[in-house]
Symmetry: C2
Subunit: 118 residues, 2 copies
DNA sequence: ATTCCATAGCTCGGTTGACGATATATAGCG
DNA sequence: CGCTATATATCGTCAACCGAGCTATGGAAT
């Protein structure tokens, strides 16, 4: 699961949202780092609905415009929880590796002949 | 950055490794979940070297077979640290959303007429 | 008045990156 | 003799993300 997909599920975890609301929520959840493009959003929404991780909650007509609300399904919440665990585990493993990373080895002290002695 | 790429960088963080060694290390780091295929590995290795995140450390000839060791560059280590931070933040944000998730609402108590009164 | 921005939805084509399959080659084990 | 492990590499496919573009309304700014 990629980042946009993960964040869409996360956005829907708290409450049902319509497309534009998801974009706003994801922007918020990602500290402004992830701005979902329409292609990404609707592609993911179709895919996730097909997989049963999300479902259409309801459709509202507000001022002539249609608002389609999506809701996270129970299996979607499960998938999200699994993914959160993965992220945690990966982050920890990587940090442990970085801790073992050899830093700048000082080596033998360097003696520079400045030509001062003659 | 996707999971395989992230794990390759993580594997190289502790010490230089050759291709097959990376596969073993990634398997270990991911609790046995991620088994890198050759296509993924060598594709990623080429890409990461091109981006300057990794570099060829040395080449050894062991029993006629070539072993090409890769090493994480400083910018690669930086990229990995940034990514670890991202993962942490995403996991936390998603968990907070899940905490806000409405559970099973009990609703009004159900009164069932069993037909016992008459 | 007109332009711009925010809200709100959607389609299409391109690119990236992961994946599966396949190939090659050696060593060791059963 | 075949299987497994070690070791590297290529090819074609596919999923997913991205950018660009389109339609539409309402309010604010120019």
């Amino acid at each position: 699961m990629q980042e946009p997909t993960f964040l869409i599920l996360a956005a829907l975890a708290a409450q049902p949202l319509h497309g534009y609301g998801i974009v706003q929520s994801v922007l918020d959840l990602s500290s402004g780092e992830v701005a979902l493009r329409p292609g990404t959003l609707y592609g993911a929404l179709d895919r996730l609905a097909e997989q049963g991780l999300i479902a259409v909650d309801r459709e509202e007509a507000v001022e002539g415009r249609l608002r389609r609300y999506y809701r996270l399904s129970d299996s979607g919440a499960g998938a999200l929880r699994v993914e959160v665990g993965r992220l945690r585990q990966r982050a920890e493993a990587a940090e442990e590796q970085l801790r073992q990373r050899p830093g700048i080895v000082p080596g033998l002290p360097m003696i520079i002949n400045t030509g001062g002695l003659r």
